[in-house]
């Protein structure tokens, strides 16, 4: 029984990572109706920036917040420089840009920081397993950080004026312009925020999976499965989907398919959702009367 409980709790901890990346994907999807395939690579680059800061002697939490800020800026710059020129282009152009971005950022990361696997520090002192061996300090700490980020993002979008403006620009850019909202600026801010959220996910997962340029490859797949499961246009659904996928993946790895075949779980979820319920479990049903 303890084994099962541990698997579920560990699943929630990794699920938090998937939930963050899923949220980043959904944020960009809502604004652009495209999936940013490079989201994982952008997060990896952010994590390397954090790694560099920490090895240079910057205290962990200072490096953590500096990395979020840097990621925010470069996410916004990616939108301004690379996505803006193609904003009215057909979907395939976007897919091309995103794949190009994935390759460029992924390879640039390897070129700059090297391909050797690195040990990334955790800020949560490991004093052995907590709660009778159910959870490690890092699992508990990273879950708390992820939840804090998710709650912050929720409150930001729900209760601030800027959050409302960003939602309006994502849902209905034409009307947003008519009430005087600078839609282009909102898009860039959305990209920045998504990159910052991805950075947190990267920094929280790196101590577990170790840091190398392909670190986020599998995670992006799980996150995508989570986003689809919850509903690709529903931030809250994506977060719940991310947690669900984390738990499912862990249980399947422990009891069903074994660790080697775990990634298959993500693909099975993706295909099942697309076949059975393309809108996802919590897909937004917009009621509309005409």
């Amino acid at each position: 029984m303890d084994g099962l409980a541990h698997q579920i709790i560990a699943g929630i901890a990794t699920g938090g990572i998937y939930a963050s990346v899923a949220l980043a994907l959904v944020m960009i999807y809502q604004a652009t109706h495209h999936i940013n395939f490079a989201q994982g690579e952008m997060a990896t680059l952010s994590t390397f920036i954090a790694f560099t800061l920490v090895t240079e002697g910057v205290p962990y939490w200072a490096a953590f917040f500096a990395t979020m800020a840097i990621s925010f800026v470069y996410g916004a710059l990616v939108e301004r420089i690379l996505l803006r020129p193609v904003q009215n282009a057909p979907p395939l152009t976007h897919v091309g840009v995103f794949i190009g971005l994935l390759l460029i950022i992924g390879n640039a990361t390897g070129w700059i920081f090297g391909y050797t696997t690195k040990v990334f520090p955790t800020p949560f002192a490991s004093e052995g397993p907590l709660m009778g061996g159910l959870i490690s300090a890092h699992e508990l700490g990273s879950t708390a950080v992820t939840l804090a980020v998710l709650i912050f993002v929720y409150l930001f979008f729900r209760y601030t004026k800027l959050g409302l403006g960003m939602r309006a620009a994502a849902y209905n850019p034409r009307s947003a312009r008519l009430v005087g909202i600078r839609v282009g600026l909102m898009l860039a801010l959305g990209w920045g925020l998504a990159a910052a959220i991805g950075a947190v996910a990267g920094m929280m997962v790196a101590p577990v999976v170790f840091l190398d340029p392909t670190m986020m490859l599998g995670i992006l797949l799980y996150a995508f499965a989570g986003a689809l499961l919850g509903g690709i246009d529903n931030p809250l659904g994506a977060v719940l989907g991310g947690f669900t996928v984390g738990v499912l993946e862990n249980l399947a790895g422990a009891y069903v398919v074994g660790t080697e075949l775990k990634l298959t779980v993500a693909l099975i979820i993706i295909i099942s959702v697309l076949l059975v319920r393309p809108a996802g479990l919590f897909g937004r049903v917009v009621l509309s009367r005409v």
């Binding site: 409302l164 209905n172 009430v179 005087g180 909202i181 009367r289």
Partner: protein, 236 residues
């Protein structure tokens, strides 16, 4: 009265298709100017041109300043509110959030007072305050669209077919509110309407548009009386 909005030689279209072939018109402050014409005459295109939603040639001046070629959001910030065709409501958001978006760019402290004024004008919107805008009836959505536009505290309100698709009773109600807007708020209105009879009752001036050109213009009362114009252009 001074001219609030002036257009000279206004041309516009979509891609290679030209829709407007050089319009000259004036909207005066605090009055209602109607833009009439059949489907495809260019009424909606004219409003889009004023709002900078499409590429234009020619001159548009708002309060004497040129606004042609400016971005839509800059034109909104100068005080032109636009209720577009299809109403432009944020369907996914609540009535309250639509209100807050209407006043998004305002920095004054009277936003709450204006909310209350809108509740008084549109009591039904207050009842639906926390409801998703997409669930409102057509009439309620039209009211929300007008309220949202007025919350910008515009000098000029562009209204695209407020009667479209609504039951006659609701149309009466909305035109009644527009009369109040004219009397109580002093905002200039440029009204596009298919229902010429209704529009001419409300308007001070009217322009009649045919395939992208103005064919008749003058005081609304005169156009209403003119049998020949009514028969050949307005069809009633």
């Amino acid at each position: 009265m001074t001219a609030l909005l002036e257009a000279h030689g206004l041309r516009a279209g979509y891609g290679a298709t030209h829709v407007l072939h050089g319009l000259d018109f004036v909207v005066e402050a605090g009055g209602v100017t109607a833009l009439l014409g059949a489907n495809g005459a260019g009424k909606t295109t004219t409003l889009r041109a004023v709002s900078g939603m499409i590429r234009t040639e020619g001159e548009i001046r708002f309060q004497g300043e040129p606004i042609h070629g400016k971005a839509t959001e800059d034109i909104a910030q100068r005080g032109i509110a636009h209720v577009p065709d299809g109403r432009g409501t944020f369907m996914e958001l609540t009535v309250e959030e639509n209100f807050r978006l209407g006043a998004y760019i305002r920095k004054d402290r009277e936003v709450q007072a204006d909310f209350e004024r809108m509740w008084e004008w549109f009591p039904r919107l207050k009842q639906r305050w926390r409801q998703q805008a997409g669930t409102l009836s057509g009439g309620e959505q039209q009211m929300l669209a007008v309220a949202r536009a007025l919350l910008l505290r515009p000098r000029l309100l562009l209204l695209d077919e407020p009667s479209f698709g609504l039951a006659p009773l609701i149309v009466q109600e909305i035109f009644g509110i527009m009369r109040r807007i004219r009397e109580e708020s002093g905002v200039g209105i440029l009204l596009v309407e298919q229902n010429a009879n209704l529009a001419l009752e409300l308007a001070d001036r009217a322009y009649l548009l045919e395939t992208g050109r103005i064919v008749v213009s003058g005081p609304a009362a005169e156009i209403r009386q003119d049998e020949a114009i009514r028969r050949s252009y307005l069809g009633y």
